[in-house]
Symmetry: C2
Subunit: 212 residues, 2 copies
């Protein structure tokens, strides 16, 4: 398949595909002559994944490159590669300030992890932990309840989600498939989850404050 066909089948313009090739998000096609290259189904699939990460997952192009590179790094073991998406992702600047609210947030989160029985979080710190603390600090600063008691139900539900997610990952037969699934499901279920929560808000609000 030539670049033009790859473009037609993916719905991505040739100019954008060239851009992704430049940025290293896509393997170059097999050069068949000095000025022509051949692309296969795996390029199409990869392109769809990249597009989904960027458009649906709102991931910056540079981050998508790192995530994909980590997922393909065969020097890491299975567990590490499964965590590739998690580690490369969030980019909400960690707790930059060191004010009172950040301190409170830090303590609330530590207590939460303790109560959930999640250990080893500080050993290989996931950027998600920084994002969590920053977000809780923002809530604290606005005076909203965000102590361990309020966070705990969220933590328990997150744990349930993780079980469902990992089940879905394990449905994939091959190791490489599991890695890709971990990346794709982690990132692409996020808008699903947030949308469902928003819709549930509408439902629950209607139930309580019932319009008509």
């Amino acid at each position: 398949m030539r670049l033009a066909e790859l473009s037609a089948r993916s719905g991505v313009s040739t100019a954008t595909i060239k851009y992704y090739l430049r940025e290293g998000l896509l393997q170059p096609g097999h050069r068949v002559t000095a000025t022509q290259a051949e692309y296969g189904e795996e390029h199409l699939r990869r392109l769809r994944l990249v597009r989904a990460l960027i458009q649906i997952g709102k991931m910056p192009v540079a981050v998508a490159r790192e995530v994909i590179a980590a997922a393909e790094d065969t020097s890491l073991d299975h567990h590490m590669r499964l965590g590739a998406a998690t580690r490369a992702l969030p980019r909400v600047p960690g707790p930059a300030e060191d004010d009172e609210a950040t301190g409170i947030a830090h303590r609330s989160v530590d207590a939460l992890l303790e109560q959930l029985g999640w250990h080893g979080m500080h050993d290989e710190p996931s950027p998600a932990l920084g994002t969590l603390i920053t977000s809780v600090a923002a809530l604290v600063r606005l005076g909203y309840p965000c102590d361990t008691a309020h966070l705990l139900p969220y933590g328990r539900l997150a744990a349930e989600l993780a079980v469902a997610d990992l089940d879905a990952v394990e449905e994939q037969p091959t190791a490489a498939g599991q890695i890709e699934a971990a990346v794709a499901l982690t990132v692409l279920y996020e808008p699903v989850l947030l949308s469902l929560r928003r819709l549930a808000h509408v439902q629950e609000s209607a139930r309580r404050f019932g319009g008509r």
Copy 2:
């Protein structure tokens, strides 16, 4: 308080505050002379909210303006204003394409809403519904399991979250406080939830594929 003090207490530069004033995200201060204005605690609070929406909630400035305007629109009733954040928000372009995957996604989502007993979703369509369908379509296109059976646990957990969220909203004593809380908690608990899910993935992955 003068602009400089507002800046110092919020940690936002005066240039940025002026920008927010221009963009209508902040009420102008009370003009005390031709060239000076006085700001109060409510300006500080509002500024912190705006910052949180933009930095933590990753909301575009223009969207933050709409959300805040809707939340303050006293011509709407309580239920409507509580939904202001939900309706003004997501901006993942709705299902633009109309391919096979989108059709499958549409049917899966409809069946899901049916099984959850969520009705009236199509009457005043929340943009979250469009985001949901687009995201599911992307998963379908990549060949991942995303049928009603897979989505249902997410829906149920979202419903549980909504109950907890609305409980937190109802803790606020005043109507205006509830509106602001609905906006702030809807948006600012999103990174909290996603971070917890990522951390839970690490835990669950360690449990299953356990490195050491």
